[in-house]
Each structure stands twice: as structure tokens, then as C-alpha cells.
């Protein structure tokens, strides 16, 4: 059953290089995810929903910005599905839309403290901005 947006799905699979069909629905990605409780959609749901083409809810979800990119799900997935890459692809598709930058330069000064390494700012821009 594939009822969703197939163009978008193809794009996500191309960007991420992930094959969601390999997933056997064991949930280990979500079991291992340190940001699980913050997420509306969990890593295993990203895999299933992308496979079904049910992608809009993901694009509009805050879950995209809760993923820590820690790769625990990639490391521990028994089927080599690499959910984090899929999350990243969805996030990119979202931020690449015009005016959809998640982090605005004007927001940055308010978030700084004296000790914050600039690495945090650089990576936040890389992750949340296009």
C-alpha cells in the first residue's frame, strides 16, 4: 500500500541513500534514541512513514530538530536501515524550502553564553539552515 507522495519519497531515498524496505519493524532505533521523549515522530516512524509516502506530517514536525544526530540508531539497527540519515534528509527537504530556515541569524545572540564554543553555532547553522 503506497498512498502518499511518491515524488517526495523518491527524493528522500535519493538524498539519504536509505532503503526503508529493509526495516523489520523491531523498534530498536526508537529503543536506542536518546531524544525519544522529545519527538512527536520517532525514528521507526520516520522509516515507516517515508516508506508509505506519508511525509508531510514529518516535514511539519518539530521532531526534525530534536534528533541529536548521534547515530545510535544507525549503529544498532540490526538491518542496516540507518534511520538518522532519513531524518536528516527530511530535515533538509524542510529547510531547503524557501524561507524555511529553522534557525535565524537574529535568534543567535539570545542563545549565546560566554563559554559556548563556536562549534555549537556553526553546527546549528549547518543543521537547521539552508
Amino acid at each position: 500500500m503506497s498512498h502518499g507522495n511518491n515524488n517526495l519519497k523518491e527524493e528522500l531515498l535519493r538524498i539519504s541513500g536509505v532503503n526503508p524496505k529493509k526495516c523489520m519493524r523491531c523498534g530498536k532505533c526508537s529503543a536506542t534514541c536518546p531524544a525519544y521523549d522529545e519527538m512527536e515522530y520517532h525514528p521507526h516512524q520516520f522509516v515507516v512513514m517515508v516508506e508509505e509516502g506519508n511525509i508531510e506530517p514529518l516535514l511539519n514536525s518539530d521532531s526534525l530538530y530534536k534528533c541529536l544526530t548521534c547515530f545510535a540508531c544507525v549503529e544498532r539497527c540490526p538491518r542496516g536501515v540507518e534511520p538518522a540519515k532519513l531524518v536528516e534528509a527530511v530535515r533538509l527537504v524542510a529547510t531547503r524550502r524557501q524561507g524555511a530556515n529553522h534557525l535565524k541569524p537574529d535568534d543567535v545572540p539570545g542563545k549565546l553564553d560566554e563559554d559556548l564554543p563556536q562549534q555549537a553555532i556553526v553546527s546549528a547553522f549547518r543543521k537547521y539552515t539552508k
Binding site: 529493509k22 523491531c26 530498536k28 529503543a31 536506542t32 534514541c33 521507526h44 540490526p78
Partner: protein, 664 residues
Amino acid sequence: MQRIGVFVCWCGSNIAGTVDVQAVSEALKLEPGVVFSTNYQYMCSQAGQQIIKDAIKEHKLTGIVVCSCSPRMHEATFRKTAAAAGLNPYMVEIANIREQCSWVHKDVPTGTEKAIILGKAAVAKVNLNAPLTPGESPVTKRALVIGGGIAGIQTALDIADAGFPVDIVEKKPTIGGKMAQLDKTFPTLDCAACILTPKMVDVAQNEKIRIFSYSEVEEVKGFVGNFDVKIKKKARYVNEDVCTGCGACTEKCPQKKVPNEFNLGMDNRRAIYIPFAQAVPKVATIDPNYCTMLKTGKCGVCSKVCTAGAIDYKQQDQIIEEKYGAIVVATGFNPISMDKFEEYAYSQSKDVITSLEFERLTNAAGPTAGKLLRPSDLEHPHTIVFVQCVGSRCENCAEKGKEYCSKICCMYTAKHAMLVRDKYPDTEVYVFYIDVRTPGKNFDEFYRRAVEEYGVHYIKGMVGKVTPEGNKLKVQASDLIMNKQVHIDADLVVLAAAIEPDKSARPLATMLTASMDTNDFFTEAHPKLRPVESPTAGVFLSGACQGPKDIPETVSQAGAAASKVIGLLAKDKLTGNPCIASPNEQMCNGCSSCERVCPYGAITYVDKEFRMPDRTTLMRRVAQVNPAVCQGCGACTVACPSGAMDLRGFASAQIIAEVDAICK
């Protein structure tokens, strides 16, 4: 000139769906030598075979081509058909137009075109076939069983029961295998020892059975009916015939800190030991890695306490040579190492254990005398988490885990969970599963009882991380039904480790030239129709060495393997394979090239007298092939510089005719 008949099979729609069988039989009718060509729905059926028999008689056929499924499937069938009609069975060739044509190609024109070409190649080959008569070889009426677990035990008992002598080679000091380590068995909850140990005693007492324990197969030569095997009996430094198994030595040995492998290292044994009370043979063994006497020459306590005088520090490995007619592989399995699954903290906490370790923890003869206590502090655990599929069903099999389902874990985990709840109702038991697989008699009922009657919490989802903290194991897992991440503070975590073939299986397979799959399970001669035979004649498979199996399946396969062995040993003579090498003595110049490449030593040289054109005679050295030893690989035919050596049934001229037919 041959008179060839061509028989094209439809195989229902299997072939006829993609190949125009009528066109094939018509096209092949035009080939040289073909005098008759037809097609029929099922050539292998009685009616189909009758068509072949009738045609052989009616058209005085000297050779036939059957265009059908793989020769691996029905070559033997059609050879018998030919023989029944008075035609030499080796005048039959099969064109494989099913597995290698209709099943792999999609459209009819392509399939038909290829089927015709394959048929032409077969016709070209038959044109050059010659009748062959197989030689005969005697059968040594003794069987070898490699592995002394429940599979090997059952096979040996069944063979011995039919009156044939059997030897069991077991690398451990005792037979019994994994089953001896189990506590209860699913789904009946029989005590494993209560049903296994009587069988072990039967083996020990059976006059037809010899046990070579603490021994390994070193070398296998020969072929079906005539295997020559070298068995290495490792030095156990105890005279088996004298030792009474009293155990005095094992109590007095001062070296107490040897990890006890029978209890998976959860307690210690002495350097001289009897693995468990019901061991067969019940004799002591000295572990040379720990024995002070063997390492430093100082101690000798066991020798002093042994009233039978059985200790022999000078004992050497011994090689036993024996002939066998049949070999049964029953090398079994092991749980995989948990090294690559450190997210479960196996090496970081004593309270994370494998299921086999759990068996020992609940076994009355185990390290805790059957009381369920956690290994770290010997406290009673109140919360236990079972994790299924650890290392099973993994994608990248080489690095981490196995691709297959280990089959037995769902059921033994249900058993463990149920037994815990039964004995210790104050304990909460969680089982994390991906799927619960219960396809066996009374299996699903058993699993449901665990849930419904015993209140085991089954949660669909995997455990992602186990973190030891304080005296708790923090388990982080997902509950896919609730769409929640769950956190459980557990006292004990039990990992259902995947199982894999024993490591000794791979070198053994090489010795036996028996094939293995990519997971090192032995492959069977046919996955459905010959499940207990290996593709190598005379080698049979029993138990988990062929694939994951539970005890009832293992026992039934063991019996089946035994019946195949009995069928073989009941024969006085075996008909050999007539497709063997044969030299043209006129062309042979005795150069020994063929002898050097023959893996079987089947080629020898004789001096033979030849008549020359000028009526003189000349003595020449020429090759001779021993038909009972040659297996027909053909290595010699290519090595022969003068082209004197040829292979019957696969002659150079025949293969070239096939090449020509294909390349037209």
C-alpha cells in the same frame, strides 16, 4: 549413427508457460540423428515415462534427450526409464529448460529460442555418447558419527539397533552436548537430563557402539562405502579403561580456579575434572592448561589419591585409523559471542547473561543449585528482562549477528519466563520481542499460557541499551504498540543469543568435501526431498549442523539420517559412477602429469607391451585408472599433454559438440 528420441516436457505450465514446447520438439526433430520427437505434459509421470519406453522400442532408439527440469532433479528417473526399456541408462541426456530457461526468462520467444539451443546441445552430446557400465565397490559395514550431542546419540542408537557397529567421535570429555546443559524442555517441561541421560547410558552399554570421547576427526579419505578416517584421541592423562569415575581426584586437586565450561564459566572446577555427574564415559580428564603437574612437574596429588592407578601424566595423543561405510555429521551449534552487542552491556555486568547461562542458573546441578540468583551478588532478582533476537535476523551478517532466525529462542524464552513466574511469583518478567514465532506442535498454546496464566509481560519492541547503574540494570527499550520508550530497572537481563554452527564444522566440511552454506550450516542434497543427506555420497546430516533445530526436530532428523545409513550399510556392494577417467593407451606417453593432479591417487602406471607396425613389440609405461577410486572430476584430462586421458560421459568431444551447438 545414433537413433535419437527427443522428449520435451511441459512441466504443466512451468516450462510451457514460457517455452513453446511444440516448437521445441519440432525444431529438434530436424537435428542430425533425431528420429523421433514429441512433447508431453509431465514427462516424469508414469504416462510420460511410458511414452519414452514405447518410443525406445518402437523407433529402436539408441539415445534419448529429455528437455525438462534440472538433471539434478530427474536425471536418475529418466535413466531408470531408459534402462527399463532396454537402453543403456547413460545414453540419456537432459536439457535443463526449466531451472535454467523457463524460470529465469520472461517472454516466450526468448525462452523458446534458448530451449531449442539447449536441446540441440544435448542432442549433439548424445550423438557421441557411448553405453557405460558402472563398476562395483564393497561396503564397509561400520558407521562413524561425528558429534555426541542428542543428534549423534540418537543416530548412533538407531544404527546400532539395526545391527551395524557405530563409532561416536566427541571432542569434549563426555557425550551429551547442549541438551545436557539444559534444565527443562519446551513445550512439555520435561527435565532434559531425565530424558537424555538414559540415552547416554544406552550408548555406553550398547555393544555395537564405541565412544571416542575427547577425540577429533583428523583426516577423511576415500568415498562412499569405503571411507578411511583418522581419529585423534587427545591425551586426557587418565587411563580410560582403569578409571572408575569415583571422583576422588576431582575433589583433591589443588588447582581450584578453572572456569567450568559446563556451567559456562559461572563457577569453577578443578584441573582434573568430570564435566558432570552423569557424564559418559564417566572418567576424569586432566586439563593440561591448568594442571600444575603437567606444567611444572610438581604436584601429582591426583595420582596419589587414585586407588585405581588410572593417572598417566605421560599419556600422548593417539591416532586411530578405522574404515567406515558411512559418516554422519552431528556437530551441533553454539550461541554466538556477545562481543559485538555491547549495547546490552554483556561484558560490563555479570547480571547480563545469555539464555544458555540462564539454563544453568535454573538447573539443580548448576552453579546456584537451581536457585535463581543473580550472578553479581547472589540476590534473588525481582525484575527480569528477556531480549529476543540478539544477533538473529541481522542484515550485515558478517560483522554483527546472523541473517537467519535462530528458531528456538522464542520458545525457550517463553519457557524461561513461564518457569520464573511459576517458581517466583514475586518476580516481574518482561519479554521484548519482534515477532513471536511458534510454529510447532503445542507451541503457540505454550506461549499463550506464559502470557495468560503466568502473567509474563510480552512487549513488542527491541531493547536499545542496557546501562548498569548501582545494582540495577537500566533497560531502555521501545514499546511499539504503545508507541512509547520504556525504561525498566531490571535485576537480571537475559539475551536470547543467536545460534551458529560449531566452529569445528568448517574444517570438517573441507575434509569431507561436503558443501556448506554461507553461514557454515551443512547443505543438504536437496532442501526438500533429501534433507538428511549431504551432496557428498555417504555423508549424512543430523541435527543443528544443518540448520537451527529444537530437540524433537533434531531427534527425528537423527532417526532419518540413521535410516539412510542403515539403507547404505545393508548393501553388500555399491554401484559406482561410470563417468570416470580412462586413458587412451595408444596415445599415453607415461609422463605422470595426470598422476600428479589426481586428488584421489586413482592413477597408477603399468608397463605394457605394444605391437609396433613393423611387427616388433615395445614396452611402454602407460597410465591406468582404478575405477573404484576415480571420482570423475576430470582434472587429469586437462593436465594430459597428449590428450590421451578422457572422461567418460563428459568426453572432450562431447563438450566440444555442446560448445559448437550453442555457438552456431
